[in-house]
Amino acid sequence: MATKILLNNIEVPGLADFQVYRKLGGYTAVEKALKTLTPDDVTEEVKKSGLKGRGGAGFPTGMKWSFIDKKSEKAKYLVCNYDESEPGTFKDRHIGQLNPHQLIEGMIVGSYALGATTAYIYIRGELFYVLRIIEKAIAEAYQNGFLGENILGSGYSLNLYCHPGAGAYICGEETALLESLEGKRGNPRIKPPFPAIVGLYGSPTVVNNVETIATLPWIVNNGGESYAAIGVGNSKGTKLISACGHINKPGIYEIELGLPVEEFIFSDEYCGGIRNGNKLKAVVAGGSSVPILPADLILKTAAGEPRLMSYESLAEGGFQTGTMLGSGGFIVMDHTACIVKNLLTFARFYRHESCGQCSPCREGTSWMEKILMRIEGGQGTMKDIDLLVDIAKHVEGNTICPLGDAAAWPVASAIRHFREEFEEHVKLQKCPF
């Protein structure tokens, strides 16, 4: 049986209630950390765990924490990135809705490790109903002495608040998130300096994803080494995968990293195969921004090795034949799906979500969408296909923040692997689907 860290008790009725969560062993990580570990001990365990940021970038969490300027006289902040908006990704909504106390517990041990006495959960505004569930849980944690002044008599104090966004994917970029938390437009900041040095209100700040933070209690309770024992290679632990599209069992699955992709798609324990017995055509494995792969390359690497659900295996072959684990948003398409139309919806998404601050992203995203609209609508030319590749190439790497890359990669990869389908749209002067 695979280890479950995030979904372990998810089906227990009333898990969002403090007493229920507590009876299942909740808040023991807070007790253990505050009573028996120093903040540096906690950081050390997180480093040992090999946990990587689960929001998409996959940066080692312990290392991110170690950049924080501890000597700074200024307040330190831990901010939870609950701006889940990457198409294909819907795991974080689940955690806050069903198991908010595990997130709060993670916020407490994380804040303790970083020396933060105020922490915020920045949650996308569309999920206001989840914000209210979390706020209720926060109130319970205060009532039971796990938040507020002098927690458990340890001398450590923490205030935790929720902050709603208002509809902006870009606020998932950590510096845009901090701007938004300061009541401004969600324009990403120019880095360096990084938030660990100059973050919220100019103070040292760590921004971590919901799933990352919700994993911390388990690591504190069981030790970093136990966590590192799960998984494969440098892909340690478990990962929530949001599976959607043309599969029989869409939903959220917690996997041990290293599970074969083929098993994930076809086994009844997970996606349960392609709907209506259809043929697998393509997969976007890590949220809309990662390169799309055709069926043969998602199941096996170009070298013929079975592809695994891990950071390394999905990236095997680089962008020519590989992709990324990203946020774990796993979008499956069967043979009835039009790659061009799907790409057009992504292009529209990135144009809509570009903050508009830097020129390649602002202009490039809208240009790519317009061309794709023409191709899908039957007015495209063969030249347009090459033009798309060229625009994507010049948006990628030239922008202030990763949104430019996120907009360019889907375009480049769809044409790389499905060029005939674009050409067919041009030749037929209509969408063949």
């Binding site: 120019i190 809509h352 903050c355 601050q357 390649p360 602002r362 202009e363 010049h394 202030i400």
Partner: protein
């Protein structure tokens, strides 16, 4: 503090710690200086947005000689000791600059024939050097109607490249900002939201910092092509600003007053609206002599030493 050594396009220069690649290049001067469409040294926090100044860092520093993985904005990247930068010697940087120029022109109306900025427009200059020979798009351009923001300033949003300079001017040198960037993405625009006049003593500087013809001087509108005017340094006693300006003259008529701009198009000192808009008689000014205009203007071709009927009093 010891000086840091940095090499830009094979030219070595020594600069203080905390200097950006852009300013190190400006210290060298000439062709190695990257173009700046949004960066403005007098405006805090400016730069990083237009991406025209992207350069290649071939060696990060003497200590860590690895190249930087992506091109960097030279206006916002600090030099390290032993850094090696490639600007015009990097095909990659040149290729990107061409693409950025294309992006900036994508929604630009290309209405230079009827634009008062023509002749002193940084986007014109950028396109001249880095633009493509052909247009690769016939998509519909986003359009806005020109509006007056206050009686002295014309906003032609179609020409705007969203450099944020005018917003920073309003934030940093006027007492109250009433305009800003509204909307998001390719729908972003400079606006006051509900029609409000931008009205304060220093608002006219928004015109001077605008790299394109998005903000122009209504009092100069269609008076003359700028290359038919003759610029003179002049000053007057002013209680609000230094009173040091440039008069743009046609025979004895003052057509326009602006701040004095350096070779990168940046004003030396911000001037007040009284000097800019209200003193348009030659008698209001002490004329110091012809203004040498560098680099960013066709006017520099307009050689002259004196103009009949204008008495010149050079400053001591």
């Amino acid at each position: 503090m010891p000086l840091l050594k940095v090499t830009i396009d094979n030219i070595e220069v020594e600069v203080e710690a905390g200097t950006t690649i852009m300013n190190a290049a400006r210290k060298i001067g000439g062709a190695v200086v990257p173009p700046a469409m949004c960066y403005y040294s007098k405006l805090e926090g400016s730069g990083g947005k237009c991406r025209t100044c992207l350069v290649k860092v071939a060696q990060g520093s003497a200590k860590d000689p690895r190249p930087m993985p992506k091109l960097v904005a030279s206006c916002r990247t600090m030099v390290q000791d032993g850094m090696v930068v490639q600007n015009i010697t990097s095909p990659e940087a040149m290729d990107s600059r061409q693409a950025i120029t294309e992006f900036l022109l994508l929604n630009h109306p290309l209405d230079c024939p009827v634009c008062d900025q023509a002749g002193e427009c940084h986007l014109q200059d950028l396109s001249y050097v880095h633009g493509l020979q052909e247009t690769r798009t016939d998509e519909e351009r986003r359009t806005f109607k020109p509006i007056d923001i206050g009686d002295k300033i014309k906003l032609n949003m179609n020409r705007c490249i969203l450099c944020y300079r005018c917003v920073m001017v309003a934030d940093q040198i006027t007492d109250k900002r009433v305009h800003g960037i509204l909307g998001r993405g390719d729908h972003s625009e400079i606006s006051t939201h509900i029609l409000k006049a931008v009205d304060n003593d220093f608002s006219g500087n928004m015109i001077d910092v605008c790299p394109v013809g998005a903000l122009t001087d209504n009092t100069f509108r269609f008076k003359s092509r700028v290359w038919f005017t003759k610029p003179f340094d002049a000053h007057r006693e002013c209680t609000k600003c230094s009173g040091k300006v440039v008069l743009w003259m046609k025979s004895n008529e003052v057509l326009r007053v602006t701040g004095r701009k350096d070779k990168y198009g940046e004003v030396e000192e911000f001037i007040c609206n009284d000097c800019r808009f209200d003193y348009k008689e030659l008698k209001d000014w002490t004329v110091e002599g012809p203004r040498t205009i560098e680099r960013h203007s066709v006017i520099s071709q307009n050689h002259y030493e004196t103009v009949a009927g204008i008495s010149v009093i050079a400053p001591k």
